[in-house]
């Protein structure tokens, strides 16, 4: 076991866990931030996506020992960001969610996309969102919501 000081959603959090523990389980089990979901556990589905130092990161495969002092933003904190707020509003406006399990990861990836590409094309969206799987097949509404958020952010 080891003690780590994490910067999560702008707050300092201390956890005492095994160094090999994936960030996902630190967030969910230690910090009770359960908005980030466990999907596949091998970074294949994107449900566990959070931002680490601004990079959309698959938290299920990154041990907490490799985080260091890089700031972490989860779905619970992304609404405090202008782009994050716009994406969440667009998600509601377009009624994207069906079962919802993958959607926190979808939103985190969409925010990462819009932060680097303010007017994404369909190809940009397919490339950036290609690692986020939705078994309900909400992809068309996700695309519409991203474009709507892009317009809102002009």
């Amino acid at each position: 076991m080891a003690t780590y000081e994490l910067n999560v959603n702008g707050q300092r959090k201390q956890v005492n866990v095994d160094p090999s523990t994936p960030l996902l389980w630190v967030l969910r089990e230690e910090l009770k931030l359960t908005g980030t979901k466990y999907g596949c556990g091998i970074s294949a589905c994107g449900a566990c996506t959070v931002h680490v130092d601004g990079i959309a990161t698959r938290s299920c495969v990154v041990p907490v020992s490799l985080i260091g002092d890089r700031p972490i933003i989860t779905i619970e904190g992304i609404g405090n960001d202008r782009v994050g707020r716009a994406v969440q509003d667009a998600w509601v406006e377009k009624d994207v969610v069906q079962c919802g399990y993958c959607q926190s990861g979808q939103i985190m990836s969409a925010v990462a996309l819009l932060k680097t590409t303010s007017k994404p094309t369909d190809a940009n969206i397919e490339d950036s969102m290609g690692g986020n799987i939705c078994r309900c097949g909400t992809y068309i509404r996700i695309r519409k919501a991203i474009k709507s958020a892009s317009v809102q952010l002009k």
Binding site: S20, P22, I42, S43, A44, C45, G46, T49, I55, A56, T57, R58, C60, V61, V62, P63, L66, S109, A110, A112, L113, K115, T116, T117, N124, D127, S128, M129, G130, G131, N132
Partner: protein, 218 residues
């Protein structure tokens, strides 16, 4: 009558003359043999080509060539299959926003989750592709041409290439590739890193020769 001393002196002179003549006579073939040896440059080129083939065996090992693709995706595994999860190259070889290399690959290997990692994890530029579009390794001659073409290799000359092979973190990673998700170790290249660097030195010393395209060696 000549004295004994005179006779000894005369014999000594004859002996010295014969010795000098013998040395000169015997040294002749030796000199000819030396002049018949292959030119130093030719021998060094052959040694250089041998060294290059050792280098090539490393460059085309999956730990290296999986990120020197000609396509818009990296490969993974010893069978060099397409990287899973729809990972793509992106404009700078680092994936795209939302799906960067760094979305999973950290600064070091994550053995507990089976994720390989190293500093600035990224794909090699397309100018340094060592495969064709069908994911087949390029020939030894083609890879050698790419490696030595300074318009393609970020302007690296011999010392630059040696430094790259000696120090580049992602090159070094190939010999410390970590564990697979199933806990087994990834296979390293066929040479040790020291052997790889030594082969690079020999190849550079020989003038970085490249094999002919029609060589039987791939």
């Amino acid at each position: 009558m000549p004295s004994i001393n005179s006779i000894v002196r005369a014999l000594s002179v004859i002996l010295v003359v014969c010795s000098v003549w013998s040395m000169l006579t015997l040294a002749g073939p030796a000199r000819r043999q030396m002049s018949q040896k292959p030119k130093a440059g030719t021998a060094t080129r052959a040694d250089g080509l041998t060294a290059w083939e050792q280098i090539y065996s490393v460059l085309t090992h999956p730990r290296c060539i999986n990120c020197h693709t000609a396509t818009n995706y990296p490969q993974q595994g010893d069978d060099r299959h397409r990287h899973f999860a729809n990972v793509i190259r992106g404009p700078e070889g680092q994936g795209v926003a939302g799906l960067n290399c760094a979305s999973c690959h950290q600064e070091t290997n994550a053995d507990s989750t089976g994720l390989p990692g190293g500093h600035h994890w990224h794909l090699a530029p397309l100018s340094m592709r060592w495969q064709d579009l069908n994911d087949q390794s390029s020939s030894s001659a083609a890879v050698c041409r790419a490696v030595t073409d300074r318009s393609k290799n970020h302007g690296l000359n011999g010392p630059g290439l040696l430094k790259h092979h000696e120090e580049e973190p992602l090159v070094l990673w190939a010999w410390n590739p970590g564990r697979r998700p199933d806990g087994t170790m990834r296979t390293p290249p066929p040479l040790t890193h020291a052997e790889f660097v030594a082969a690079t030195r020999r190849w550079i010393k020989a003038g970085m020769p490249c094999p002919q395209e029609n060589s039987t060696r791939r």
